[in-house]
Symmetry: D2
């Protein structure tokens, strides 16, 4: 299986290029009998869609999803579900001049070498962030499957943009506030500051990165296949498929590495007859297996590489230094568009593992 | 493929339990024609071995590796290479009392539920850090394969123990100093402080975590299969198989998420006719593909969960709160034993991808 | 990986249903730099297409293939190649009455049970022979890849229809005669008899099976990964994905099992400085690996299950015996449409193994 | 995953060489909670063992199996089960002279080319029939798993040796007679004739092939994952891993290809309230899925290639014709040793699919 597919029992295959005819996904292994509707998928795709506010790119992408296989009379059949978005509004001319001038921070250079110049470089081609829409197509179905069968809920929000961080701890009541603003931060004050910092970066022709936090609740004990398919292994593999992600941590993560064992260990307690832990420094995963506590993940996004500020670079043909100003309509910050993508990859991974662990049956 | 195997073309399968008869590894897909010797493997296994200094556990494990298939007249044959370590010095009685009292921070609880009490819990069983010896068995061969065919070198060192951090930037000259001290930190001053902090934690019956930094040089451009088998995806999947790892970042990682794009982008320059980047915030990976710069990874280890300090916990049979004091001879800090394990997993991943990318041939 | 994908390095994923919106294929892992054209694929698809002669079904399926990803300026890019056929001319009403009356010899009954009635049963749904068009989409590309890089040629022809068998041994000169008649038998006399027998079966509302022979030449020595990915293992796995196939044999096959070792062993000789064998009872495969001789396979197809003759069956709702007359426009014999499908599966398998063995590079 | 592993959820990895230190198997994915004992495995291994009668090779192989991981207190734990046989009684000198004189019908030549002479050629090395013992190690556990959880029983017997065929149809009562004689044919008269023909071949320094028939009963409806993981695809893939197998057919197979659809279709009937078919030309598989009828397979074995008769061959160094007389103690016919191997591969495949279909749970 090459790099375009992920999962063992629930397999998502992504295809398409940013400026090709279409992008799409095949979701294979979804149990038969799940009600699936294009509208549900569209709703979440729209959360990821650019061009909806001042803080994202002004490219308009209608991104209408069409299901072309695997659904019969509104229900999954057990056959592969194929979903398509036809591309439009491509301005490939913007990219022609980039064939020789390498964009710093982009895949341009390694992709060119790897594929011996045969890769479709238009708009980032196969490496474009646009492809995360294919993760969402499959992810919405996985998320519903988890919810319907096991009650699992996965949500994520913008925790940090540049140097602005939300310091309040996330709690479940905040879920409904995530999509109330453009930056997807449930704390309104922080959201405002984040928005301002993005608009400032934009004005300067620059970009910002940030951190997404993902919280998944009602996870049963026992998901994860040790050793190499530990939940941390599988979740990180999935999440690093998002362009721009450069770091990930579970539970107390890097901060936890500075604590004593007696501080970082989560003590077991009894709560309404159930064994839980008092704290959740483990992020819900012990020995690679879910322990029933919320799975908490923090994900670092680098600032977007495409900036309109002038940058020095190398012309790959002349092998001389040149100056580059990336044209096109780029996101000053991709983080606000990332929560539906993160949710999708978390859901795909957990649904795959729930199938592997026999917690979801192959036919509903 | 279940959780006990990793890799696509170069597949490591790990087996065994901490207190079972043996632990071992099958390395499949290694090209024919590589010279392999038990002594080379033993040398690196010894770096990982406990009982060699005051800062690690006093358990003595001879950990003698034996190759039982796949090598003929000193060379790999193309057939699977099987390596064994027979277990000894097991004091399983130490663990019997833990069957009911859950150890905080351990896999005990989720493993018990997942395997319906059939799992071998002695000494952590399949979840023991001892199993990382199986990663090393395969990793030494992968590391040699990379070195011999492509000149790739992978090294790692202890960058942080608890709150003590080495602040100097790592450079290649430090490689030979890594194993000069017990903590595996090439800066002697920092190493001393780290050692003291570990011994202090030990005295208190407590434990410490830390951070390992891994640097891989001479990586060719073009390793990594986008989207889901990006180098970051595959390296993180491999590295999260190490018990205690709770965070990972590439290049500028979490810090990079606070920078502007213009600060974090690595500018291309020409150096002796080769295209390189001036800085290496990408950690050698762009678009999931190696760009020829060193691959730099930082890995967060939580403090070891097994501490002799008294902890409150739950008795899983009575479902009542009880008190626990973990017996046995445990590591106050596992980080100093981790560099050979990290090197092994990095090497296994890169060798697999070098095979996938056709940079290493299936027969030498 | 579930049942809808095949291959390790060159992976074909098939999707779609007979009477759904579309059928299609994603071919992943094809090296970058191969010239690919919709017309080449269309040409071979047309050989498989029904409705072109009296001996196949009268259903008209235009089966126009459309490439929607993975090709840029006429060449493969290394990204997944997605190909679609939009369905048309569906007469699903023909099938509605079959929901309760099980068709003997069909997948109806086990599919219904397996998918708990959620499967799309219209026109056989996912189980329809129509889906072999998705094999051909990918197969044409694999076949070209083999031809262009290694000179490998794979062809197949109708060797037997019902009790009529072509007794002449196939030789390379016959290749150009295969598609000169509707039954795809290069011997005109036999072809005529086969045609007559098919038309007779049709008149009686009955159907016929037969045997396809596949011959692949210019195969390099060394393809096949023992033990479980032997060429015979992988070729048979691929070929049994064709509905109606119930037997396969390589070289002397079942007849060879009646010979003495001294009769069946192929003696080595030197021919123009090359080591070859005098006979080819091995069918070009020894120890699961290609030995450089032509790969010869014979494949048994059962007679098509859909016949218009009255058959007794069981009504799955009433659980009573009932009478059934399968309506719709069915093939009296599917064998003449099978050669392009067999060629495709052979090519996909050999191309995958040529990639695995490093005989084809990941980038051309 | 390379050629040394098979299965998706229940994965068998085989390792070792005929004259190396050991041969062995890792069975991964077996549900926790199954009682497993070395003696059960040994019993079936002994059925496969050579040197037990006049009709097999006189090599003595004690073939004592040792379980070294995955079993705790007599039960599977969910961890990989590793089983070893230490090699003994190797007379590698017998083979040294074969390094240059290619043995007709053997893997010698393609293996030498494929692995560039690095392969272990002693006693056939990795290609030896001896390696089928590793299939049996895993197969015995799979067979027990099927029996204990679903009541499935798989058996096979010698149906044909050379030109001697058992003409009676196999019925369940014959199962207990299979191992009553050395040829493993339940019909005593036929068995006697088979034995005589093997002894005759032996006297002449020649060898014989034959046919094994496998029958599996009490299979639930719904095993098999269409399209490419159809039961026929997966069973044939597994069975062609046995050296010497050159043909396979399900149900009416090649004979069925000569029938009319109205003759070959199995009509549905009601039997004690259950839907079954009157005949079983499908061999229990429709559309790649089990239909609840017995799965019937016939498997063609070529005559063993190692014969003591003089054969002409090529000297690979001088590239001249030479004469060869294969020394060593070889089987005049391997077919009588094959039933436990066939049973093992059938059981491994069906158990894997029962897990995939959710009919066996990951923990018992």
């Amino acid at each position: 299986m090459s790099g375009n597919s992920i999962g063992q029992r629930l397999v998502l295959t992504s295809f398409g290029e940013s400026h090709g005819k279409s992008i799409g996904a095949v979701l294979d292994g979804c149990p038969a009998g799940l009600e699936v509707d294009e509208k549900e998928i569209q709703k979440i795709l729209d959360y990821r869609k650019p061009g909806t506010s001042h803080i994202t790119t002004q490219r308009k992408e209608s991104d209408k999803v069409e299901i072309i296989s695997g659904i019969f009379r509104g229900f999954t059949t057990g056959a592969p579900i194929t979903m398509l978005i036809w591309n439009a509004d491509q301005k490939s001319r913007d990219y022609e001049n980039l064939k020789t001038n390498l964009r710093p921070g982009h895949s341009d250079y390694p992709a060119m070498i790897k594929y011996n110049h045969f890769n479709d470089y238009r708009g980032g081609g196969r490496f474009s962030g646009r492809l995360t829409a294919t993760h969402v197509m499959g992810g919405v179905i996985a998320r519903k499957l988890l919810k319907v069968t096991l009650g699992i809920e996965t949500n994520s929000y913008t925790k940090q943009i540049g140097k602005i961080e939300m310091n309040k701890e996330f709690d479940e009541k905040m879920i409904k506030s995530i999509y109330k603003n453009d930056v997807r931060c449930p704390d309104e004050n922080t959201a405002e500051k984040m928005k301002t910092s993005i608009l400032n970066a934009r004005k300067k022709g620059d970009s910002l990165g940030g951190v997404i936090e993902s919280i998944t609740t009602k996870v049963p004990v026992g998901l994860g296949e040790p050793i190499f398919s530990s939940l941390e292994s599988e979740l990180s593999k999935a999440i690093f498929s998002i362009p721009s992600v450069k770091g990930i941590e579970f539970g107390s993560g890097f901060e936890g590495s500075k604590l004593f064992g007696s501080e970082n260990n989560d003590l077991y307690i009894i709560n309404r007859g159930r064994i839980i832990t008092k704290t959740n420094n483990s992020g819900g995963i012990l020995g690679g297996i879910s322990n029933g506590m919320p799975i908490t993940i923090r994900i670092a996004f680098k600032p977007a590489s495409s900036i309109s500020k002038k940058q020095r670079t190398v012309n790959i043909q002349t092998k001389k230094i040149s100056t580059l100003q990336v044209q096109g309509r780029h996101d000053p910050c991709v983080v606000p568009r990332a929560p539906p993508v993160v949710d999708s990859l978390v859901a795909l991974t957990l649904a795959d593992h729930a199938l592997l662990a026999g917690q979801i049956k192959p036919v509903l």
